[in-house]
């Protein structure tokens, strides 16, 4: 769902780890642990693997030891901030299959963009690249859903103004969801840029607020592990 999905969508050239969004069920947890066992993966950070903690939004971090995957980190989550429940994420996923039949199941680009709206500075250029890559690939084949996605998520004044020229009625409809489109209508590029920055800062603040209680828990987990509890 993370960097590896970004590679498929063209927003990254490689990722040093594998992030998995997982359906929270006993059967699935058993399959995950069996797979991690085959990779000789060991947990490398707090918290411990616990479905209750995953359900609260924590990630569990593993590192593979030995074999082709030696050193590779695998991060597992079952809940992501502001994203739909797993069943819906799965229903709208992207599936890619190669000539040998190998299949790759990816978070949809819309959900990946939402997942990348974090407090981390490095995630925001990735969102730009995800949306631009999508527009470059499919801009010639607009559908209602795609136009809505581009208008909702494009992050450059130039692209927003182009979208408004191409899809004015759809853009008008979206103003109530994304007020900065009104500035784009008036062609105020610098004002749009400032509003885009403010939009990012607001999302980062929401993400920090979401993580604050989880980080407080982390610190408790770290203390407990250091003390050997």
């Amino acid at each position: 769902m993370g960097g590896q999905a970004c590679v498929f969508y063209g927003a990254a050239q490689f990722s040093k780890d594998v992030d998995l969004a997982l359906l929270a069920s006993d059967e699935n947890f058993a399959r995950l642990l069996a797979a991690l066992g085959e990779l000789n993966a060991k947990r490398i950070a707090v918290p411990r693997f616990d479905p209750v903690l995953l359900a609260r939004g924590h990630a569990v971090h593993f590192r593979c030891q030995g074999g082709d995957a030696d050193g590779l980190r695998v991060d597992v989550m079952t809940r992501l901030r502001d994203l739909a429940a797993f069943e819906l994420l799965w229903a709208r996923r992207t599936t890619i299959r190669d000539a040998t039949g190998e299949t790759f199941e990816l978070l949809s680009v819309e959900d990946l963009v939402r997942a990348k709206k974090t407090q981390r500075e490095k995630d925001w250029p990735v969102i730009d690249a995800l949306v631009e890559g999508h527009y470059r690939a499919l801009g010639g084949e607009p559908t209602a859903e795609r136009v809505e996605f581009w208008l909702a998520e494009s992050r450059t004044p130039e692209r927003l103004m182009e979208l408004i020229r191409r899809f004015p009625s759809e853009a008008h409809t979206q103003i109530s969801h994304r007020p900065l489109l009104r500035l784009a209508f008036s062609g105020e590029g610098e004002a749009v840029r400032a509003a885009l920055d403010a939009e990012a800062r607001a999302e980062q603040a929401k993400d920090r607020a979401y993580w604050a209680p989880l980080i407080a828990e982390f610190e408790g987990f770290r203390r407990a592990e250091r003390e050997g509890a």
């Binding site: 780890d17 950070a45 980190r73 890619i96 490095k122 631009e132």
Partner: protein
């Protein structure tokens, strides 16, 4: 940055199919590892997972076999 403003390298990357990108990424990853690249996360104080006690400053230019022998003034 719009697609048109992206460097040629990125435009060429986006021109590949998703599977072509994945296969190319595997090669880049293999090169990275062959050069001694670290699989540790990059230190990122803006990440909720950042732990200053366990995060190192990173090896010189991402390679554990390299040491900085000389630096400029900054």
């Amino acid at each position: 940055m719009t697609f048109e403003e992206m460097p040629d390298e990125w435009q060429e990357w986006l021109a590949l199919t998703p599977l072509e990108r994945f296969r190319e990424s595997e090669k880049i990853f293999a090169h990275y590892l062959a050069m001694g690249g670290s699989l540790d996360p990059d230190p990122d104080p803006t990440s909720p997972f950042y732990d200053p006690e366990t995060s190192s400053a990173g090896a010189a230019y991402g390679r554990p076999g390299l040491r900085v022998l000389r630096r400029g003034a900054v």
